[in-house]
Amino acid sequence: MVKVTIWGSLQSATDGAEAVEVEARTTRELLDRLAEAYPGLKPQIERGVSVAIDGEIYRDAWFTPIRADSEVILMPYMAGG
């Protein structure tokens, strides 16, 4: 199981939980499991999110491996100027 920290304004979709656990080995599995387990997260995931794994921010990288002890943070989709 991977522990995922959810940003504050999405925690209404996780019954107020700051972090949830899902079974996932990659970022794609992570996002799929999150959307299944917490349907309230699905609209945001479909609009776009980034995932920080052990301090590194990933965008559109489905197959980035996640270890069970990784620090995993859901973040808004990154952009820049």
């Binding site: 700051e18 309230g40 590194e56 921010i57 820049g80 100027g81």
Partner: protein
């Protein structure tokens, strides 16, 4: 691709300052910008724009305009099919108003004619029947439940009830017990701040030339930060296959994030489709101000607690950003960035994105971060003043570092904030004496940086030269840095390498030139492409020598036997191998395609001295120093230029630049005479201090540098003004009337 052992080598080309490859073309006028291209039979395109801030469009009658001699096509929103994707639909609706004009300057119709005069006359003859509606341009006003609604039904699912429909996004971040944190503080300060919308201010207005043939194939020449973005967006909006639209990026006269979307390109293509002729559209400066993206304007509430010895116990930021007439997500970056420089046990940020009757916001260097960090850094400084603490010592005491849980969630790995703070403290600037009415301010800055989709192709020519093909417009010196990394890796002189930015049909997809990504990501792909070419050249050498390819190494630009057991052969240089490429198997090339990660976040610290004229309220910048972790600086002059340029834009934001709207909701200052950007005579020489802390996510340790420098100037100057004049300004810009008013209020 992580930092490799080679980063510990002595670089031969990377880190030097060769003459820029685009310099001669630019100073001689040979460089071709967006407006420089012409085509046989070309028509002139012009756009009719709304004179109203908010109006329902009852009807558009183009009959009289079409009757003008020379007019070949007129386009309105009715010519475009609805887009499937809401973001695309917003882009389309911004390019051409559908049903409602949402801001002053919103495009209503476009004309293509054989002459400029005919096109302008036709615009005057287009009859638009408007039903003028109430408007709102202020972010706080737009949030009120009774505010005029810009668009209905656009709020995301987690926006709290009770607010205007203009509120489209709500975000919140943070951790820890705020209440307990504030209770531990010896002093808590709460302040409200406001920042004005500012424009990216690029010197080159938007321009494009579109040609669509009767077979549906089209070519588009335009100034943009991303030709692939333009291709994908325009192809989708015109119902084309992307392969049938070839987009070529011109030289670009500045972008800074403002050219990361489309405004005129789909319109020119549709005019060309309808007329069967090439169509060129060039925006005027007024159109650029009225109808392209400025940054957001903001209103915020900041609350920070500190102990008497300077430890921050809790921080709270509530940010309200207006992004014009469409939903925008910029507030999430502000909310994530606000406290990023600090190691805090208790921190919370909230953000609301709000629609107003203003042009659709576009990215601007580190979008969303400057205004949030300005507010936070102002309050931190005020707390330092309250306790009589050294502001740099307080930053050092509270600085985020490796192992800090960031205010937006992830735990930081290696970051350079402490190094930049220490460099600032040790610099002579920090202890230099100040005169009367002078003050010194500082601020930290932060930006995320990212990598993204990138393709590079590298061809070894038979004469021993190298062509590197990449797909990102060069807005900050990327052709120089890419060429330097290719030459470094191949071990050949830089003048043997030419880097070309290519069109969309010649290379795979590349993300837009933004996010401080190009030198990092394209550089990474270039190094990988060079390594692929080296592998092939070693294989060719092995064939020539009749030995195993594993017994060949590449050193100093030549293939060599890996050791005595591999055989006694003279080295084969890149030129030697290239000359024999046909006989040994054909042309040699390397390429690499990647969605690059590992960009790493970026920190900087700015120090500024100002002098405030107590009678005029004017602020003169006397001295300015920048300390930034740039990773390995490939071409230090360009890195310094990015740092200086960002600082200057931030100085303009702090002191003078603002979108000014009248009561009628119309922009009052759409030109550089009334929209005051800093010019060289306003500024001292800005001293950049590069700290080269290798980025572990890049083989040479490169880190993006282009965005972070615009973040600190707002607060650094506000803090300097506070110390120079004894007034704390909480609204930007700190224009002379505003500063004078604050001084008079204090003295009264």
């Amino acid at each position: 691709m992580s930092l490799d052992e080679s980063s510990r080598r002595i670089f031969k080309i990377v880190g030097t300052r060769p003459v820029r490859p685009d310099g001669v073309d630019k100073v001689t006028g040979r460089a071709l910008y967006g407006a420089d291209m012409t085509a046989p039979g070309m028509l002139v395109g012009h756009i009719l724009r709304s004179p109203h801030a908010h109006a329902r469009i009852r009807s558009i009658d183009t009959a009289a305009a079409m009757a003008v001699d020379g007019v070949k096509a007129i386009v309105t929103a009715a010519d475009f099919a609805a887009a499937d994707d809401p973001d695309l639909q917003d882009i389309l609706d911004n390019c051409m108003a559908r049903g409602k004009a949402l801001y002053d300057g919103h495009a209503i119709a476009a004309v293509a004619a054989t002459t400029d005069k005919a096109a302008r006359l036709a615009l005057k003859l287009i009859a638009v029947d408007y039903d003028v509606l109430p408007h709102v341009t202020d972010v706080d006003d737009a949030m009120q439940p009774d505010a005029p609604v810009v668009q209905s039904g656009r709020a995301e699912e987690n926006v709290p009830p009770g607010l205007s429909e203009n509120v489209t996004t709500y975000v919140a971040f943070g951790h820890g017990d705020l209440e307990a944190g504030f209770a531990r503080a010896d002093k808590v300060i709460e302040r409200q701040f406001r920042t004005a919308a500012t424009h990216q201010g690029y010197i080159e207005p938007h321009a494009c030339l579109a040609t669509m043939g009767p077979d549906g194939k089209a070519d588009l020449w335009c100034c943009t930060q991303g030709q692939y973005m333009v291709r994908n967006t325009c192809a989708a909006l015109l119902g084309m296959d992307s392969s049938q639209l070839r987009v070529t990026a011109s030289e670009i006269g500045g972008g800074f994030g403002g050219k990361t979307t489309v405004f005129i390109e789909p319109v020119a293509l549709m005019l060309s489709k309808k007329s069967g002729r090439p169509v060129k559209i060039v925006m005027s400066r007024s159109e650029v101000f009225r109808a392209t993206g400025p940054t957001i304007s903001s209103s915020s509430d900041i609350k920070i607690g500190m102990t008497a010895d300077g430890r921050i116990t809790a921080g709270l930021a509530r940010l309200r950003y207006q992004g014009g007439a469409f939903p925008c997500g910029t507030v999430s970056f502000g909310a994530q960035s606000a406290f990023a420089a600090y190691d805090l046990d208790a921190v919370a940020t909230e953000g609301w994105s709000v629609m107003t009757n203003r042009p659709k916001e576009a990215a601007y260097r580190a979008p969303g971060a400057p205004m949030a960090i300005y507010a936070v850094e102002s309050v931190v400084d005020e707390l330092c003043q309250h306790f009589g603490l050294d502001p740099l010592d307080v930053r050092l005491k509270n600085a985020a570092r490796k192992g800090t849980r960031s205010s937006y969630g992830p735990t930081f790995n290696e970051i350079g904030l402490m190094a930049t703070l220490n460099a600032a403290k040790e610099h002579a600037h920090y202890s230099a004496p100040l005169g009367p009415n002078q003050g010194r301010g500082l601020s930290c800055g932060f930006w995320f940086n990212f990598g993204g989709d990138t393709c590079v192709s590298l061809n070894i020519n038979a004469d021993g030269t190298v062509g590197v093909t990449e797909g990102n417009p060069d807005i900050g010196g990327s052709r120089a840095s890419i060429g330097m990394m290719a030459a470094e890796e191949l071990g050949i002189p830089l003048d043997k390498v030419r880097t070309t930015v290519t069109d969309t049909n010649s290379l795979g997809y590349n993300d837009v030139t933004d996010g401080s990504r190009v030198t990092f990501a394209v550089g990474l792909a270039t190094i990988k492409a060079a390594r692929a070419a080296i592998d092939e050249m070693c294989r060719r050498a092995a064939l020539i020598w009749g030995i195993d390819e594993d017994a060949v190494v590449w050193e100093d630009g030549a293939a060599r036997p890996s050791g005595p057991n591999a055989g006694d052969f003279d080295p084969l240089s890149l030129a030697d191998i290239a000359a024999r490429s046909s006989e040994t198997g054909g042309p040699i090339a390397g390429h690499h395609e990647v969605n690059a990660d590992g960009a790493g976040v970026s920190f900087g610290v700015h120090l500024v001295d100002v002098e405030v004229d107590p009678e005029l309220g004017s602020v003169k910048v006397l001295r300015y120093s920048i300390f930034q972790d740039a990773g390995k600086a490939v071409h230090p002059s360009y890195v310094e230029g990015q740092m200086q340029g960002g600082a200057v834009q931030g100085i303009g934001w702090a002191l003078n630049e603002e979108y000014i709207y009248g009561d009628d909701g119309r922009l009052q200052n759409p030109g550089f005479l009334d929209y005051r950007v800093p010019v060289a005579s306003d500024l001292p020489m800005i001293e950049p201090v590069i700290l080269e802390i290798p980025n572990p996510g890049h083989p040479y340790g490169v880190r993006g540098v282009g965005e972070t420098p615009i973040v600190p100037p707002l607060a650094a100057i506000a803090n300097a003004v506070s110390r120079a004049a004894g007034v704390r300004l909480t609204e930007l810009p700190m224009s002379p009337p505003r500063v004078l008013k604050a001084i008079k209020a204090t003295s009264a």
